[in-house]
């Protein structure tokens, strides 16, 4: 079985607006086990709309969500790690949550769509990421041509502006298969080496991964699933037919994740399957 790290995962909580949250979480973990996911790097976006909007989570909802996520990562260790999610509209709260989250074991910062990626309000958060040595996972709408309801979606160009202002921070551009025109994203971020991209999303267009490989290369692509592990498995099975070398495949499956996140973040998870990150970096 292929070893993979899912760098874009989500879980639900008792505060989510769905009664089957435990079934949902169990299904994710079970499917992950069958696919070969050794670690889910996950976040919870507030109450998922129950008491404040998913992409504009209130500070209280986001604190509660992060608490649940940190506890769940502890409980499921080492197969679950946490992103600390923040709403950039509340700068002081966001920075405090980041400090608290890193102390609780979070290994990255999750930004959804509460503000455009090139907004000045994200500068303090991007600087904090550099200070703590963790990446930022930014929700992206591939080629945003208009405003979409319930989110201030950003696209590759907007993230590129932020990445240019913060060359010491690594940004993980979310889900190239997650909606919008993925072909637009590749040239938008090609020259920003501190932007890497995850392959997640329900989109499984032929040509999408090949195009990303051509534009940014395997060292800047990370396998992930987001909301649909079925399309994650499909991409996992399709990757060997892209012409990528075995080394490139291992990079996309898990080695890029080892490089991206703080040292040792996946050592325990990988040791369970005999992978040796130190020998391959």
């Amino acid at each position: 079985m292929t070893t993979v790290i899912d760098v874009h995962a989500h879980f639900h909580t008792p505060s989510s607006n769905r009664s089957d949250w435990q079934r949902y979480n169990a299904s994710r973990l079970d499917a992950g086990d069958r696919i070969g996911v050794v670690c889910h790097v996950a976040s919870v976006l507030g109450s998922w709309g129950a008491t404040s909007p998913t992409y504009f989570a209130s500070p209280d909802d986001q604190t509660r969500a992060n608490d649940w996520m940190f506890d769940f990562a502890d409980e499921q260790s080492p197969r679950v790690k946490a992103w600390v999610a923040v709403n950039p509209n509340y700068t002081a709260h966001a920075l405090a949550e980041i400090e608290r989250g890193i102390a609780r074991g979070a290994i990255g910062i999750k930004l959804a769509a509460g503000r455009r990626a090139d907004d000045a309000l994200l500068d303090d958060i991007a600087a904090a990421a550099a200070q703590y040595g963790v990446p930022v996972l930014q929700h992206i709408w591939q080629h945003r041509r208009r405003d979409w309801p319930n989110q201030d979606a950003s696209d590759g160009i907007e993230l590129a502006r932020l990445a240019a202002r913060h060359p010491r921070t690594t940004f993980l551009l979310a889900h190239i298969g997650g909606g919008g025109d993925w072909a637009h994203t590749n040239p938008a971020v090609r020259d920003l080496e501190n932007i890497v991209m995850d392959l997640s999303g329900s989109g499984i267009d032929r040509g999408m991964i090949d195009d990303a490989l051509r534009w940014v290369g395997a060292r800047r692509l990370l396998w992930a699933a987001d909301l649909t592990l079925c399309t994650g498995l499909t991409k996992l099975r399709a990757l060997p037919y892209t012409g990528a070398s075995d080394d490139d495949l291992s990079d996309m499956y898990w080695r890029n994740a080892v490089r991206l996140f703080p040292a040792g973040a996946f050592t325990d998870a990988l040791s369970r399957v005999g992978a040796t990150p130190g020998a391959t970096v």
């Binding site: 069958r34 040509g207 909301l227 498995l233 499909t234």
Partner: protein, 292 residues
């Protein structure tokens, strides 16, 4: 369908095409590549359409290109040509399809502007039922969020599908491609049990874990309503197999797979219904008065 493909127990893909797509490049959409991919992904054969023809006005040149392209691969690439029922000469298109051994014909009501209950679509459904070929309707080619500005056709709504399935006295076997859970449920549960038996859903767009829509549909509408597909050349062909492999443990495992439908079983049912020509199942459905 040839005897060799009938002997092959691997599923027959109900949704694939050859040819280019007008709104983005699709890699090498050539029939000889499709043949290799089908074998690699565990399909015995495929119902194959001509992708550019979905966007033509007159389907005849598209069908001509399709018949020529798949001829060298008879038994594996099974033509599923277009029949446009609001176009002059459509009955000849259907006759040609039957003569070419097509297991199904394709219709694109959204691209042609034929809304729910359009009499031309009803006529086509009746004719397909009589001819013993399935009627294949593509709900969408791409996710709504990524469509080209010039692609304004929209999705085929459930109302169109229900109207086709409800035609009183029709024997038409309908295959719906590109539907997610909501559209499938809105169609299936809006039909009587006899009507439900003539509708199949390509499951390639249904979500697996952790939402588990696919497992839910197997448990509720039944595996026999859900059909294998590859969606080549538009989408990665591994998706149907991935969905089956990720079914939760409480549903049959790959060693005891659910009894899913495929092109072979659907074509068999369509032919059987045409031969037996049973009396109308009920009189409650939409009438066939279509005098256009």
């Amino acid at each position: 369908m040839t005897s060799s493909s009938m002997a092959d127990t691997r599923p027959v893909d109900v949704t694939s095409w050859i040819g280019g797509y007008p709104f983005r490049e699709v890699p090498h959409p050539d029939p000889e590549i499709l043949v290799r991919v089908l074998d690699r992904e565990g399909f015995a054969a495929a119902w194959v359409g001509h992708l550019p023809g979905a966007f033509y006005r007159d389907p005849v040149p598209s069908n001509r290109a399709l018949y020529t392209a798949v001829a060298p691969f008879a038994g594996v690439l099974l033509p599923a040509p277009i029949v446009r029922p609001d176009w002059p000469g459509w009955t000849e298109m259907l006759r040609d399809a039957v003569n070419a051994g097509a297991p199904a014909v394709r219709a694109y009501p959204a691209q042609w502007g034929l809304g729910p209950g359009h009499p031309a679509m009803a006529e086509l459904a009746f004719a397909c039922g009589e001819a013993g070929v399935a009627l294949h309707v593509t709900v969408r080619f791409e996710d709504l969020r990524q469509r080209h500005l010039m692609d304004g056709a929209g999705d085929v709504p459930a109302a169109t599908l229900r109207a086709l399935a409800r035609l009183a006295g029709s024997h038409c076997h309908l295959v719906v491609a590109g539907a997610g859970r909501e559209l499938i449920e809105e169609t299936h549960w809006g039909l009587t049990p006899p009507e439900q038996q003539r509708v199949f859903y390509d499951f390639g767009w249904v979500w697996g874990p952790p939402e588990d829509h696919f497992a839910h549909l197997i448990a509720t509408i039944g595996a026999e309503r859900l059909a294998w597909s590859s969606w080549w050349p538009l989408r990665l062909t591994q998706q149907s197999r991935a969905l089956v492999d990720l079914l939760p443990p409480y549903t049959p495992s790959p060693r005891a797979e659910p009894n899913l439908a495929d092109g072979r079983s659907i074509f068999g049912a369509a032919r059987c219904a045409a031969k037996s020509r049973p009396a109308a199942e009920h009189r409650a459905g939409t009438t066939s008065a279509t005098n256009r």
